[in-house]
């Protein structure tokens, strides 16, 4: 027992020491299937099996009582004729576009700034990252209270907010949701950009300086192109986040006023868990899966992400 253990211990250790180059080359090859097993099992259990079950449920009528009853295409016909469903898809799309448009420039600027060596940078960065530490539910409750028309900010600043009916109009409610999303997620994307900006080799900037490029020119000609890969990652995360936005809608607007902010993910919840129509809820879920897949394929194709191998292009 003891000898065996000792020998085993000595075996690989000794060989690694005597052939340092070998361990490097062996890991370059394709890892065995066994390595993918844990992730595959996890993925199958929590993604593929539920997906298949949702697909089956979408052809049934089920309230949670008794057994699901097969109804063919009825749920899909309902959804196609449902104006709220169509509106929810447009709203989801609008949320994604507005989210990307507002969060991306802000987080690039903040991220590049936070990657520098300015005084107070560390302290200010730490403050900017605070929203990242709060849960979505807490953030929503907080903003809900801050935006109360009578006892919140709008009540104190009537010249800016009018009667304070922010969450009572469609434009106001969408504006609030986009703003809160920006407040909540910009720090995360700032963090991504900060890391990427720090990784840009300084020789590029030194060369640009010698060529006479100023700060602004360096930002547009070096920093932005070098952040391209990062931007795609960040935007894809925003798209996924936008599609699955749920808690903020639930707590801030409850899909209202009326159905004015009922985005697809929220509508799915409403149909399945408030109206107990799991068939229609599952159909909406499938629509979301298809839409999310399509969007991701489009983003990957358009950005040329699949052809890029390294972010250090031009070096």
């Amino acid at each position: 027992m003891t000898t065996l253990a000792t020998r085993r211990q000595a075996g690989p250790g000794g060989s690694t020491a005597s052939h340092p180059a070998r361990s490097g080359t062996s890991s370059v090859g394709r890892p065995g299937f066994a390595w993918a097993l844990p992730a595959t099992i996890f993925f199958a259990l929590f993604a593929l099996v539920p997906l298949a079950a949702v697909a089956v449920l979408s052809f049934t009528s089920w309230s949670g009582l008794g057994d699901p009853e097969f109804v063919g295409l009825e749920n899909w016909e309902t959804l196609i004729a449902d104006p709220v469903m169509l509106q929810s898809l447009w709203l989801s799309l609008l949320f994604i576009v507005l989210g990307v448009v507002t969060q991306t420039p802000l987080s690039i600027l903040l991220g590049v700034w936070a990657a520098g060596h300015q005084r107070n940078r560390a302290v200010l960065s730490a403050i900017y990252f605070i929203p990242l530490l709060l849960s979505s539910a807490a953030i929503s409750v907080l903003w809900r209270a801050l935006l109360d028309p009578n006892f919140g900010l709008p009540g104190q600043l009537p010249w800016l907010f009018g009667d304070g009916n922010l969450l009572g109009t469609q434009a106001g409610a969408i504006g609030v949701l986009i703003f809160v999303g920006m407040w909540q997620f910009t720090p995360f994307h700032t963090l991504i950009y900060q890391g990427a900006a720090k990784g840009i080799p300084t020789v590029l900037y030194q060369a640009a300086s010698i060529d006479g490029a100023g700060m602004v020119r360096q930002f547009f000609s070096i920093t932005l192109p070098q952040l391209r890969n990062t931007a795609i990652t960040s935007i894809i995360l925003m798209v996924v986040g936008g599609l699955t936005t749920f808690e903020t809608v639930l707590i801030l607007t409850d899909g209202g006023p009326g159905t004015d902010t009922t985005i697809t993910a929220f509508y799915m919840y409403q149909e399945a868990f408030q109206s107990f129509d799991f068939g229609v809820g599952s159909a909406i879920a499938l629509v979301l899966v298809v839409v999310a897949t399509l969007i991701s394929l489009v983003v990957v194709k358009v950005s040329g992400y699949d052809k890029m191998n390294s972010s250090l292009e031009g070096l």
Binding site: D148, P149, T169, D254, G256, G258, M268, G281, D306, M308
Partner: protein, 433 residues
């Protein structure tokens, strides 16, 4: 690794994981008594401050019974969802809390509940000890499915008596015209006439419940509930909607009610801080104010019945709101005898006294003997008399209909108030139920 593959897989995975949770806890299928736990009677209740009385009742019951009651509480907001998920499985409760009416209609249809008429035949007190207008709420197709527990919660017109006095209003409005008159006076005094938590949607619905009842009587809603959706397009229905529109257009609710909530303290604070004159709310508003601002609740807060509408068919003493909470019994319970014994505690003096002590108002005939023990006996008596003398107590619309109708009703009432849909839009939405 191929970037495209992992990107799309990762994306799809993320989305699917979120959605896949939809299915968590799917089960279903029937159960029978033998697969249920031995010597245990599971009682499931809505988790909140009232649980301490239920715990005391359970402890009392368990002292003498061989079959022990186990109390399971489900936190408030998730109650109906959790219940609907487990009710048709082996882990379904034997006895469970509900709101009567639509909240159990689907369970009755799925043949999951035990009619309690046999229990009542053995012990008539199980029915006779409760006020009839309340007991009716849990009767479906002529059979009784629920025994009242906890308290009744009628909706009343609350007011800030100081604000009314300053605006020159001597008494709460007894008629619709007086209400319109009060609205003008309050507007002139520079306050929002009526606080409304429109963002919660159900407070908006309260206005519909009362105006429809006053104008058309209780028959219209009952007919609609029974499937005659044409009544929504009747003359009375249009008249009721016209009355509501008149009130909204008069500026009674201000302009930003759709951003205000009752549940986060927004609308009650408008009333208690003197920035609004009235609020139509369930009787729990008293407890809400007592908690936030005891001095206001005890000295300034006023309350009255919903005003009469001249020429309307409804009795001016009809009520609307949450008639009561109920205990229903699962058909597959292993111990129906013990369940019946447990239900008998609901009209016991001890139960009634404990409910009153924590601010609930039980609807038993013996409640009246103990009203002096309430924290505000005057308020408790006023409320009890309202319920006792009401010819009809309309269960809140969103609870009278099965849960699947809730979103449609809430959306319709809220869009009507914000002006997004008109009379025709509202009628069409309600006819779609």
């Amino acid at each position: 690794m191929n970037n495209r593959t992992w990107m799309s897989r990762g994306l799809a995975g993320t989305a699917v994981m979120m959605l896949g949770l939809t299915l968590a806890g799917c089960g279903g299928g029937s159960s029978d008594a033998s697969s249920r736990p031995e010597n245990e009677l599971h009682v499931t209740v809505y988790g909140d401050a009232s649980n301490k009385v239920e715990e005391a009742m359970v402890a009392k019951f368990n002292e003498t019974s061989d079959v022990k009651v186990v109390l399971d509480t489900i936190p408030g907001a998730d109650y109906q969802t959790k219940l609907q998920t487990i009710i048709d499985t082996d882990s379904a409760p034997d006895v469970f809390f509900n709101w009567g009416g639509g909240s159990i209609a689907n369970f009755v249809k799925a043949d999951l509940l035990l009619p309690l008429d046999d229990f009542i035949e053995e012990d008539p007190q199980l029915k006779d000890a409760f006020l009839p207008s309340v007991f009716e709420t849990a009767e479906i197709d002529g059979k009784s499915y629920g025994i009242p527990m906890r308290g009744t919660q009628p909706v009343m017109l609350f007011n800030n008596s100081e604000v009314l006095k300053q605006a020159g209003i001597d008494a709460p409005p007894a008629t619709w015209d007086e209400l319109l008159d009060a609205v003008e006076k309050l507007k002139a005094a520079g306050v929002t006439p009526i606080a409304l938590g429109g963002a919660d949607q159900w407070p908006t619905q309260m206005w519909f419940q009362y105006v429809f009842d006053r104008v058309a009587g209780e028959g219209l809603f009952q007919a609609a509930l029974d499937g005659d959706t044409e009544v929504w397009d009747s003359e009375e229905s249009r008249e009721a909607l016209g009355k509501l529109r008149e009130l909204i257009d008069a500026g009674a609710f201000g302009t930003n009610f759709d951003s205000v909530k009752f549940t986060d303290g927004g609308s009650p604070t408008l009333l208690s801080s003197g920035r609004a004159g009235f609020e139509l709310m369930g009787s729990w508003a008293y407890a809400t104010h007592l908690d936030a601002n005891p001095e206001f609740a005890e000295n300034v807060l006023g309350y009255s019945e919903f005003p009469e509408i001249e020429g309307g068919k409804g009795d001016p003493h009809n009520l609307a709101g949450n008639t009561n909470n109920f205990y229903s019994v699962h058909k597959d319970t292993r111990y129906p005898e013990e369940a019946a014994e447990f239900l008998k505690l609901m009209y016991s003096d001890e139960f009634v006294q404990e409910q009153i002590a924590i601010g609930n108002l039980p609807t038993t005939t013996n409640t009246v003997e103990f009203l002096d023990q309430a924290s505000n006996p005057e308020y408790a008596k006023y409320q009890f008399d309202l319920v006792k003398d009401a010819p009809h107590f309309q269960l809140s619309w969103d609870q009278a209909y099965p849960p699947e109708a809730r979103v449609t009703i809430h959306t319709a009432v809220s869009q009507f108030f914000s002006g997004k849909i008109d009379e025709d839009g509202f009628i069409k939405a309600m006819q779609g139920l």
